[in-house]
């Protein structure tokens, strides 16, 4: 099993704790998303997918973590280069709806990388979809404005 999982990390271009975690996964061959300690973060699950908070949430332009950065993760460790099937999206929608109700989310951005990791910038070689929700801060007109998050493709 360790031999099959040797190539579990693609890019180690982040810093800090996440980089350490990626480097450790590369050395041990243990997929981060398969690990017990990761699975223990599960918030909700469907048959083939589960929902977790990203332990290293994306930072926005004010260098603060996004209001929410959730991950939909496949329960099966499998080829992650191809676009997802309709049945995957149907389950992700159930998880997303649950998250929206649970956390009061009324809009966001879904994002996933496809194809070769060296082109798309994927770090963990395990099917997963990101769900970003920006922070809202007061603006000058007395309303609210989002603080943008820039998602890197590549």
């Amino acid at each position: 099993m360790a031999d099959e999982k040797r190539d579990v990390v693609a890019n180690v271009h982040y810093g800090g704790d996440y980089r350490h975690e990626l480097e450790r996964a590369r050395e041990t061959g243990e997929c981060i998303f398969c690990a017990e300690r990761f699975r223990a973060l599960e918030l909700f699950r469907e048959r083939d997918w589960f929902l977790v908070p990203n332990q290293y949430p994306a930072k926005d332009r004010e260098d603060q973590p996004a209001a929410f950065h959730l991950l939909f993760v496949s329960r099966e460790h499998r080829d992650d280069t191809a676009p997802l099937a309709a049945r995957d999206w149907a389950q992700i929608e159930v998880l997303r709806s649950w998250a929206d109700s649970k956390f009061g989310i009324t809009g966001g951005c879904l994002f996933l990388r496809v194809g070769k990791a060296e082109v798309c910038g994927r770090t963990v070689r395990h099917p997963h979809v990101h769900y970003y929700v920006p922070r809202m801060v007061p603006d000058r007109s007395g309303g609210l404005r989002p603080v943008p998050i820039d998602i890197a493709v590549g």
């Binding site: 929410f68 676009p83 049945r87 149907a90 809009g107 994002f111 496809v114 920006p134 998602i151 590549g154």
Partner: protein, 163 residues
Amino acid sequence: MPRTPTHSFSRYMSASGRNKKVVVNPAGAKGNRYRKVLEDIQRTGVCPFCPENFKWHTHPILKRNGHWLITRNFNPYKNAEHHFLIVNDEHMEEFRELGERDWREITALIRWAIAKFKIKGGGIAMRFGDPTHTGATVSHLHAHLIVPTVKRGRTLPVWFPFG
């Protein structure tokens, strides 16, 4: 655990104090030319992604599959070798409105583009919710397929802004 937001999108109020239905969001445009086009569209009050109003989109439709089509983005992001939009011919704005048939049709178009343009890798993104909060320029639901440029073996990242 994620933090609970102190405000929700649905309570956003415009400067005039009225909730406004947003069809296009010029403030989210990247580039003056595109912003001007959106301001023109905003004056008409119609949705530019609905088939009867698609005239502002000057790129050809590359392929259709069921209720969805794929075309190039009028205003591609910097460093993108390809930047496609996948758009529904029915007006919908909420992610929850998509059914399995939609995902089959969207996925088929993405696979078609990957094969047709020999795409080695990229990202698929979809914003939904109030576009003045998500950075979407058009509230009509659509997906982006973004392919970064690879130059001399090095990938030049495309930054997809959200919010």
